[in-house]
């Protein structure tokens, strides 16, 4: 018998969005509860519930208050938050090919310098870890990943670098990320994947969800080119593993 889970805080973000906050830190246990509620509401959404946005620690629920009133939504959320079974996070694992070599690993030498590791040690530490997708945010298809090995935990840059390339594999502030749309960034670009996590014309446009696990598989620049061509021809190069 375990104790009943703590009730989430329900915070209004205006009259058409409700934030269900399970905590204030980056923590896999909090993320599990966020994703469990997200999944439960998605399986049987009340009429008037709109988009659900999972983040590290909270679930933002957009709703049409002319169809679904706040009290009804709040009751539903409290019940589900207490009863929703936390799904075994990480039942879906993706392996993404990643080229850490030039010209893709633009900042890998800087990370080596900051961490005191060799470039090879940076690469093997990054490629040796399993990451959890906490959330998307900031820009289309920008996936925030937890699970970065401690030796690679460098602070973010004091000021942003020029825009990263598409499908950049980045680290910064103790987290890892895969970023699809080029933007100036405070993170370090240590590689690139030929897998397109986001392709607006493809169905589905996104294939990796919050709660999924990711591993990176080192490839050289030649392989990167050939896999990029395969991906462009519609043959996905990310591989999916199910633990169910």
């Amino acid at each position: 018998m375990s104790a009943a889970p703590e009730e989430p805080r329900l915070l209004d973000a205006g009259e058409a969005a409700l934030v269900v906050e399970f905590g204030s830190t980056v923590d896999p246990a909090i993320s599990d509860r966020v994703l469990a509620l997200d999944e439960a509401l998605g399986a049987d959404p009340p009429e008037g519930l709109g988009e659900r946005v999972p983040t590290y620690r909270s679930l933002m629920l957009h709703y049409d208050p002319l169809v679904l009133d706040r009290a009804t939504l709040a009751d539903r959320v409290r019940i589900l938050a207490a009863t929703a079974v936390t799904r075994a996070a990480g039942t879906t694992l993706w392996t993404l090919p990643c080229c850490y070599a030039a010209p893709h690993g633009e900042d890998v030498a800087q990370v080596a310098e900051r961490t005191g590791l060799s470039v090879d040690a940076v690469v093997s530490a990054h490629a040796g870890a399993t990451y959890r997708v906490y959330m998307y945010g900031f820009a289309p298809g920008f996936a925030y990943l937890g699970g970065l090995p401690e030796p690679l935990a460098v602070p973010r840059r004091p000021s942003p670098r020029p825009p990263h390339p598409t499908n950049a594999v980045m680290i910064g502030g103790g987290l890892a990320a895969v970023a699809t749309v080029p933007m100036p960034t405070g993170w370090y670009v240590i590689g690139a994947t030929p897998a397109r996590l986001y392709a607006p014309e493809r169905d589905p446009s996104f294939f990796i969800d919050a709660g999924d696990l990711i591993r990176f598989e080192p490839i050289d620049a030649t392989t990167f080119e050939s896999l990029t061509a395969r991906e462009a021809a519609g043959e996905p190069v990310a591989r999916r593993w199910e633990a169910r």
């Binding site: 973000a13 205006g14 058409a16 659900r52 957009h62 959330m135 998307y136 900031f138």
Partner: protein, 338 residues
């Protein structure tokens, strides 16, 4: 196919429909109109679905013409200067744009955003189910960018309008510029009560550096009680975040989907358009309302959109001389910021 041709366009002129919904969880913001009520009203005035694709006009100004066939146009740009082949028109007007004629819209005494709806359907390819333009990520509209001279917008199932221009009367767009109503939170607990009072009272001055992403406010900086960094969470349109410098930023249509600053309050849906229309230099203050009051305001707004947009004959105004219109054409391009 008939088309609406962009003859000239200042910065910040984009195509917007009701917004790109369903992908926020993947980091994709809805975009959509800065003033949703005015956008919907323009569509209503030409008999389009309320969330149809329309041209959003910034203070950068735009000049358009019709190609192939006459187009029924509803232009809602109150406070802007509008002319058809040099003859002044009201800022809210329905007209039949015949090929060879030129409609000019320029920033005027007031108003930051206007909407030009075309009877029929502006036939651009939706991306992720929407034509809304989000220029920062290059999504929607024409190639994900703002409109520019030479762009041609095909119009499917185009409907011409009555031939003489008519003034559009939509009283619900005559919104006073009083308090902007907010619901406190979601992180109002990051501020002491005296700072929340200071936030509400302001007064704040809308900064000229705002755009579709955010409205920056200048005034006396607020102090945080618990620091200014939070672990990122979701950001609603109208969320008012307070970064380290203590000056509030209202996040608008093109905002990022998540953010890491405490959000002291959220502008209610019914007041988003009013705030968006406040140009740089406008002084504003906030008023706290309950969720119930905000819902009532939203309901009232929804009801007004059921009313027809009345058309009245345009009364000729003699002060709209060719001299003034000449000035309009000369100084028409501004920096595109409200």
């Amino acid at each position: 196919m008939a088309a609406l041709t962009i003859e000239t366009a200042g910065p910040g002129i984009t195509l917007q429909d009701g917004g790109r919904h369903g992908y926020l969880r993947y980091g994709i913001t809805a975009a959509g109109p800065m003033d949703p009520l005015m956008h919907a009203t323009a569509n209503r005035a030409v008999g389009n679905p309320l969330d149809a694709t329309a041209v959003e006009i910034s203070t950068g100004g735009v000049t358009v013409s019709a190609e192939g066939a006459a187009l029924g146009i509803a232009l809602l740009a109150p406070g802007f200067r509008v002319s058809l082949d040099g003859a002044a028109l009201p800022g809210a007007v329905a007209l039949n744009l015949e090929p060879g004629r030129t409609l000019v819209v320029r920033a005027g005494a007031a108003g930051a955003w206007g909407y030009l709806a075309v009877g029929g359907r502006i036939a651009v390819t939706p991306v992720l189910g929407s034509t809304a333009t989000h220029t920062r990520s290059g999504l929607g509209g024409l190639d994900g960018r703002g409109l520019a001279a030479g762009d041609r917008l095909p119009v499917a199932e185009g409907r011409p309008s009555d031939s003489a221009p008519q003034r559009l009367v939509a009283p619900w767009l005559e919104r006073d510029s009083g308090f902007i109503r907010v619901v406190l939170g979601p992180q109002d607990d990051y501020f002491a009560p005296d700072q929340i009072a200071a936030f509400l009272a302001g007064p704040w001055t809308v900064s000229p550096r705002g755009d579709r992403m955010a409205c920056f406010l200048d005034g006396t900086p607020l102090r945080h009680a618990k620091g200014h960094d939070i672990v990122s969470d979701g950001v609603a349109m109208g969320a008012i975040q307070v970064p380290g410098n203590g000056l509030p930023i209202v996040l608008m249509a093109d905002r990022q989907s998540t953010g890491g600053y405490p959000k002291i309050a959220t502008v209610i849906g019914a007041d988003l358009g009013r705030l968006a229309q406040a140009r740089g230099g406008t002084r504003i203050a906030f008023r706290q309302v309950s969720v119930d009051e905000a819902v009532a305001a939203r309901r009232a707004e929804r009801e007004t959109l059921r009313e027809p947009v009345v058309r009245e004959p345009v009364v000729r105004t003699d002060f709209a001389s060719d001299f003034l219109l000449g000035l309009n054409l000369v100084d028409g391009v501004t920096d595109g910021r409200p």
